[in-house]
C-alpha cells in the first residue's frame, strides 16, 4: 500500500459516515422537508468525499479526472433535484411539520 492509497482511506470513511448520517436522517426525521435536509446536504458531501477518495486512490490518470467530473456533476445536480422535488411538494400543498 503506497501513500496515495493510505490517503484515500480517511476520505472514504468520511464519505461513509456522512452517508450513514443522511440515511439515519432520512429514516428518523418527522416530515418530508426535514428529510430533504438530510438527503440534500448529506449525500452531496458524502459523494464528494467518496469520489475524491476514489480518485486519490486511482492516482494521476484520465479515469481520476472523470471521477472528479462526476463529483462536480453531482455537486450541481443534487441540490437542484432537491430543490425540484421540494418545489413540487410545495406546489402540491404539502404543509411542513411544526413543533407543537
Amino acid at each position: 500500500m503506497n501513500i496515495m492509497q493510505a490517503l484515500s482511506i480517511p476520505f472514504l470513511l468520511g464519505g461513509f459516515f456522512f452517508f450513514l448520517a443522511a440515511t439515519v436522517g432520512l429514516l428518523r426525521f418527522p416530515d418530508f422537508y426535514t428529510r430533504l435536509h438530510a438527503t440534500g446536504k448529506g449525500d452531496t458531501l458524502a459523494v464528494l468525499l467518496s469520489l475524491i477518495g476514489l480518485s486519490v486512490y486511482e492516482g494521476f490518470s484520465f479515469t481520476a479526472v472523470k471521477i472528479l467530473f462526476i463529483a462536480v456533476f453531482m455537486f450541481l445536480a443534487q441540490p437542484t433535484s432537491t430543490h425540484a422535488i421540494s418545489r413540487a411538494a410545495m406546489r402540491c400543498g404539502l404543509k411542513p411539520w411544526v413543533k407543537k
Partner: protein, 238 residues
C-alpha cells in the same frame, strides 16, 4: 482645571474624528455610486450594441467557438485516446453539438469577465466548502442525537440578484449551508425551509448573497469589496 481642559480636548478630538468618519463615509458612498452608475451605463451600452446586428453575429461566433473548445476539452477528457482517428471523431461531434446548442451554454448576456469570475470563485470556494462541512456536521448531529432538537419554519426573502447563474448559485448554496433548503421561488421571492430558528436568523444577514453578487459581478449593486478597492485608490490619490 486640568481635568476640564482634558475633557474638552477629548471632546474636540472625538468631534473631529466623527467629522472625518462622516466625510470618509460620504466619499466612499459617492465613489461606489459613481462606480455602479458607470457599470450600469456600460451594461446599457453593451445591450444597445447587442441589439444592433454586427455585434449580434460577433457574439454568436464567440459563443460558438467558446462552446466548441469547452466541449472539445470535455471530449478529450472522456475519450483519453489521443490518436488522429478519435480526435477527428471528436472534432466532428463537437461541431455537431455546438451547432445544435451554441446558444445554451452562454445564453447570459449580462455575464462579466470570465477570468475575474474564476479568480473570485476560487477565492470564495474555501468559505463555501467550510459552510458545507459545517452543514453536514449539523445534519449528522441532528440525525444522530436522541432528542432531535429541531424547530422547522418557513421564511421568505427577496433577492437583489439578477442573472440566472447567480440565482442558481444562491439557491444551491442555501440548500448546502447549515439548516436551510430552498423550496420554492415565486417572482423573485425565495421560500426557504429552515430547520431551526437560530439558522433562520443567520440567513437574514445576507452575507452569502453579497458573496455571490461579488463572485458573479452583478452590475447594479454596491458590494463591500468594491468599496474597499475604491477606498484604497482614493487613499493613494490623497
Amino acid at each position: 482645571m486640568e481635568v476640564t481642559v482634558l475633557i474638552q480636548t477629548a471632546d474636540k478630538a472625538f468631534e473631529i474624528l466623527e467629522k472625518a468618519r462622516n466625510e470618509a463615509r460620504e466619499l466612499l458612498y459617492s465613489s461606489a455610486k459613481i462606480a455602479s452608475e458607470t457599470k450600469s451605463l456600460e451594461a446599457k451600452r453593451a445591450e444597445q450594441a447587442f441589439l444592433s446586428g454586427a455585434q449580434h453575429t460577433k457574439l454568436a461566433i464567440r459563443n460558438y467557438t467558446l462552446t466548441f473548445f469547452m466541449l472539445f476539452a470535455f471530449w478529450v477528457l472522456l475519450s483519453g485516446r489521443l490518436d488522429l482517428f478519435h480526435l477527428t471523431l471528436g472534432v466532428l461531434s463537437c461541431l455537431l453539438i455546438s451547432y445544435l446548442s451554441y446558444d445554451l451554454l452562454f445564453a447570459n448576456v449580462r455575464i462579466g469577465d470570465i477570468r475575474i469570475m474564476f479568480k473570485r470563485f476560487f477565492a470564495a470556494a474555501p468559505w463555501f466548502l467550510s459552510q458545507i462541512f459545517t452543514a453536514n456536521l449539523h445534519v449528522a448531529y441532528l440525525a444522530l442525537s436522541p432528542k432531535m432538537p429541531i424547530d422547522p419554519s418557513i421564511l421568505r426573502f427577496n433577492t437583489k440578484l439578477e442573472s440566472d447563474i447567480s440565482w442558481v448559485a444562491l439557491a444551491n448554496s442555501i440548500t448546502l449551508t447549515p439548516g436551510t433548503i430552498t423550496i420554492d421561488i415565486r417572482d423573485g421571492e425565495f421560500f426557504v425551509h429552515a430547520i431551526d430558528k437560530k439558522v433562520a436568523s443567520d440567513l437574514d444577514t445576507g452575507e452569502m448573497e453579497d458573496k455571490i453578487a461579488h463572485v458573479f459581478m452583478e452590475a447594479d449593486h454596491i458590494y463591500i469589496q468594491d468599496i474597499l478597492d475604491v477606498s484604497r485608490i482614493f487613499g493613494e490619490l490623497k
